[in-house]
Amino acid sequence: MDILYSIFIDPFVQMGSAPDLLVQTLWEGLVSGVLYALIALGFVLIFKASGVFNFAQGIMVVFAALTLVGLYEAGVPAILALILTIAVMFLLAVGVERLVLRPLVNQPDIILFMATFGLTYFLIGFGELVFGGNPKVMITDELYLPRGSVEFEMFGGFVSLQKIDITAAIIASVMVAALAVFFQKTRIGRALRAVADSHKAALSVGISLNQIWIIVWFTAGIVALATGIMWGARSEVSFALQIIALKALPVLILGGFTSVPGAIVGGLIIGVGEKLGEFYWGPLVGSGIESWLAYVIALGFLLFRPQGLFGERIIERI
């Protein structure tokens, strides 16, 4: 009975008795969720337009952040470094399109997936060779990112929101909104959607696939840069950051590979779910369950919707 009590009743008693902690947990969950969603967003963009499951998104996050900080440390002013980093991400997109995607056009998914592994290895080696393997401090102040926290009195306790987390949430929302506008309202956006629907049909109406791929990879690069800045500010800029990119996998699975809103909602569900789980139920089994909880949550959803929450319905024909 004790076990049942501690599983089904006690966590809710705790939630009720310290609502400020519950609010704080939800907030932390939302923030991690936003950050997971940012990584997942990069995956989704590329998967939608080119059908590539881009494993290199994680290392792109590290690479973008490293380039930014590396340039700054080499004496480039922060804002100029930011612009240069964006230029580097553009070059990377062109390079990937020319050297990896174009020769591999029309290959099975798993081969393209594998090619992005190759890209990951290459970027790890290249990044460490150029910028060195030691961790770097993210230049938050120089980029005019706020520091410190805002605290609210609430339910007899307090809830503290980090300004950098609020900024992350704002930037993520702005980015998603901008992407939505870009996809829906611009000419290139329409072309992107056409490519996502069918490569061949898009080609036949005169859309240049190569150009579209560069644009998508470049966009994913910018998303990676934003992600890198945010994660870097929370911790440090180092190659350990790529581990965190794995957390985007359950998010993607949950939200569906092709849906931008799916990435966001999936990220938030995973973020909140794993924080609540770790905080209220984790102590029952000695904590540290975060590493697999996200996958179990995603698995639970998948059993009911095998194509993810927002994924396109899989219709199988013989």
Binding site: A115, E128, L129, S291, W292, L302, L303, P306
Partner: protein, 358 residues
């Protein structure tokens, strides 16, 4: 010219369906076996045996395991390292509880534990497909790794939290532990790998293998043709995990000789997936090629600068190794997306018609 089957007539079904239908193939495999069994242990030094050959064989075995699942049955798995870990920990528990039983028996038995765990995590595969299935296996990977750290019973409450491999003997000669000679360990690993490869080859050429491939090519069609999906997929998970489990036990007992749970991390799973894809999905010989390329290439690259007399810092060599391996993966995929096994086929075809182009 070199590789002609002219004059070799098949007079019955069995001969036609043989794994090595041509005389040259039979000679080839005999030469390879002779090389592996006699020449390498004679010529190779301890470094070559214990750093190159034993790990290569262990990885090849794990790749075969994953290939049975991903290449033959079309079920993507990222939990390989977790299943290897189950094998290693099971073997450790078994041999410490029953030390008098021969270690080889326990290595096989540990594969069975791994198979059981694999079946459990394979259950969602009936409903979830493709990359989505990968998440189920990732859940297995992370959950199992958590168990290896969190359940002290698994590592006999060792303070270090690691497996410490005891000395075990075969016919009085130590095969595990520090006193086991590289030659002995090599022979044990080689023997097991040859045996299990032979079994796998028979599996995939038989009814089971064909039902796996039918499921891979289109599972609905396979179902309509009367193949029961759940047992077929679960069997694939079981056999695959068995192979991975044995590979895991071999890895810790005959290669590392002691390991932390950290060695069964997600990176290991990815590494074995690389080997399978680069080697060739759905090809047993490809698993060997893939393991050789992904595992041995970096060792060669790391050793190369000092061989040619260049003195570059160890870290720089490592960075360059990463870059070269990454670039080579992409190049190989561009040259031959179907893996090294297909290159091998093409090569054989070329030899056959040489000196003519077709």
């Amino acid at each position: 010219m070199f590789y002609r089957e002219a004059g070799q007539f098949k007079t019955n079904y069995a001969a036609d369906m043989a794994v090595f239908p041509i005389l040259q193939d039979k000679i080839g495999i005999a030469i390879i076996l002779a090389l592996a069994l006699v020449v390498i242990p004679l010529v190779g030094n301890a470094f070559f045996l214990s750093v190159v050959m034993i790990p290569f064989l262990v990885f090849a075995l794990a790749s075969i395991g994953l290939n049975l699942l991903t290449g033959y049955t079309g079920l993507l798995s990222l939990g390989t390292a977790g299943f290897m870990g189950v094998g290693a920990f099971a073997c450790y528990k078994l041999t410490t509880i029953f030390p008098e039983v021969n270690i080889i028996v326990w290595i096989f038995a540990s594969g069975l534990f791994s198979a059981a765990v694999g079946v459990f995590f394979g259950l969602p595969s009936l409903r979830i497909k493709g990359f989505y299935l990968a998440v189920a296996t990732l859940a297995a990977q992370f959950f199992l790794q958590w168990c290896f750290i969190r359940i002290p019973w698994l590592y006999n409450y060792n303070v270090s939290g690691a497996i410490e491999v005891p000395t075990r003997t075969l016919f009085g000669i130590p095969v595990t532990g520090p006193n086991a000679s590289p030659e002995m360990r090599y022979y044990v690993v080689l023997g097991l790998v040859i045996l299990l490869t032979w079994i796998a080859s028979n599996l995939v050429h038989g009814r089971i293998g064909r039902s796996w491939m039918a499921v891979r090519d289109m599972d609905i069609a396979a179902e309509l043709m009367g193949i029961k999906l759940l047992p077929t997929k679960l069997l694939a998970f079981a056999v695959s995990s068995f192979y991975c489990g044995v590979a895991g036990a071999l890895m810790v007992f005959l290669w590392y000789g002691g390991a932390e749970p950290e060695v069964f991390s997600i990176n290991q799973s990815f590494l074995i997936l690389f080997m399978v894809i680069i080697g060739g999905l759905g090809s047993l010989i490809g698993s060997f090629f893939g393991a050789a390329l992904i595992y041995i290439l970096p060792i060669v690259l790391r050793g190369a600068p000092s061989l040619v007399g260049l003195d570059i810092g160890a870290a720089t060599v490592e960075h360059l190794t990463f870059m070269i391996v990454g670039a080579l993966i992409i190049v190989f995929l561009i040259v031959e997306p179907h893996g090294l096994a297909r290159l091998w086929q093409t090569g054989k075809q070329k030899l056959r018609v040489w000196p003519f182009p077709y």
